[in-house]
Symmetry: C2
Subunit: 329 residues, 2 copies
Amino acid sequence: MKKFLDSIDSLLDASLKGFAAAHADLVGFHSEPRYLWRKQPGRPGKVVLISGGGSGHEPLHGGFVGRGMLDAACPGEIFTSPTPDQMLAAAQAVDQGSGVLFIVKNYAGDVMNFEIAAEMLESPHATVLVADDVSLPKDHSIGRRGVAGTLVVEKMVGAAAERGADLAACKTLGERVAAATASMGVALTSCTVPALGRPTFELGADEIEMGVGIHGEQGRRRMALSGASGIVATLADAIAADLPLDPARPILLHVNGFGGTPLVELYLVYDIARRYFEAKSITIARSLVGNYTTSLDMAGCSLTVTLLDEELLELWDAPVLTPALRWGC
Amino acid sequence: MKKFLDSIDSLLDASLKGFAAAHADLVGFHSEPRYLWRKQPGRPGKVVLISGGGSGHEPLHGGFVGRGMLDAACPGEIFTSPTPDQMLAAAQAVDQGSGVLFIVKNYAGDVMNFEIAAEMLESPHATVLVADDVSLPKDHSIGRRGVAGTLVVEKMVGAAAERGADLAACKTLGERVAAATASMGVALTSCTVPALGRPTFELGADEIEMGVGIHGEQGRRRMALSGASGIVATLADAIAADLPLDPARPILLHVNGFGGTPLVELYLVYDIARRYFEAKSITIARSLVGNYTTSLDMAGCSLTVTLLDEELLELWDAPVLTPALRWGC
């Protein structure tokens, strides 16, 4: 394992301190328990948004703390759920009295710990669950995983909360965005968790994992490495089979890198995906390409599509000022 | 080699088409000869800035085309200089009659081809050479390489040009920024150029290349992998030995990822570097952490320091709106 590392135990705190120092105008770091909080608060009485999950997916979620997105983020250990005390402390720190919305990726540990925190929280609160990974069937026993579509939920609900939407409206909107969003990913290589010191899973030199999860979970199937067009078509076919694509409804197309794949390849993937949807007469109204929901050093990427309407388009375009996403500010 | 790829021959054009489509509000792509151009022009009569170089370092340079930075960028084949016809066509396309400033990283091919283009260009023009890599001695026979500090030159001169600085002032400023900037990088792994299909250089499982170039060029020395603090101190020592650090002069600290190193590690590196300079009573006035001058999928990073003054700080803070860097807009 070749990583920048002093010790496994100090990695996360030092990295979070560095993150908060590098973005000191936007984000603060509270260390015990760990959470990142927004330094430029929204207007008094806004609904606050809190997300979190295992670390190793940076910039998700800490990179999305700021104006127009999250009010706080709770980083767990790498690929490990944060604990309820983190979520509770974060909620109490940023709560403005109008309610706390938890945005939770659908993993058993995350769901359980956010539920415990919610039960302990005395303020009004609600939860939006994100389960956008179409690699697993809709009726899968543990449910679908939450992956790169989480960014879209956080961005759109964050914009609505900034404008003064109440807790119920934020929850309804979050569920509507989540339902309109589908993702699927593919791994060309595994990733290496520092504490483990070896690749999470093994892939042959000519194999790819189609439908991989963002922690390296098994996908739909192990396949032979093929040309990019074939790989992208498989991802896009899975999304198209799941979402009611409609030429009357423009989409947001998000190509997300898992960390180890260069931009020159991600933009190739974007170009192939763009042509795929345009061939179905689907209008790509907005695009986002880059490493946003990563899996440490995994080579690979995912496609995410969100079906837009006027409201969602406007919420996507609304100003956002965070370490990792910024426009209109 | 595991990459998203249909064919070596089509990779770059498809990727550039995808890039221009994903950022259609900001950047256009001209294919024969290849250049990326700014869609939202500055005020009439502004000096235009053009850079370029081999591809594989994305988002450099195309990601920096836009308001407050470059007017055009010329992408060569991967790790290969662009050709004079690209630079000439780009210059003729964006020229506003007040002069063309070429910003050139110090590699023999780039320097020669930009010189040929400059000779063919009838409009007033000037060149700023960037040679910020302190891995090589100042009197090295081929000169020092231009690396991640190029971004700083492009950002600051871009801001000045946007405000109406004339060609001579832009050149003087660019040379001043370049002289105030020093960088050094380290590779934990090689990168793989698609057309080559195998790693550019070999590194043992416990070896690192200290002072590596952004194409995998040999550095100062091959070393044993050690803790992050030791590695970062070696990089920072080299920079501190080269730049006249002064507690009265704040710095810009840029931690640049080469592509394959996760953000959790880059922010750890930033935190170590931050503490290094703070221990020398140096004020870190501005920071930038992320993958900006990459080497395909290489794991590793570089540190860049620019000595600031009031003018340079203000130019850094000036609005910028490009695919990869944006603030204040």
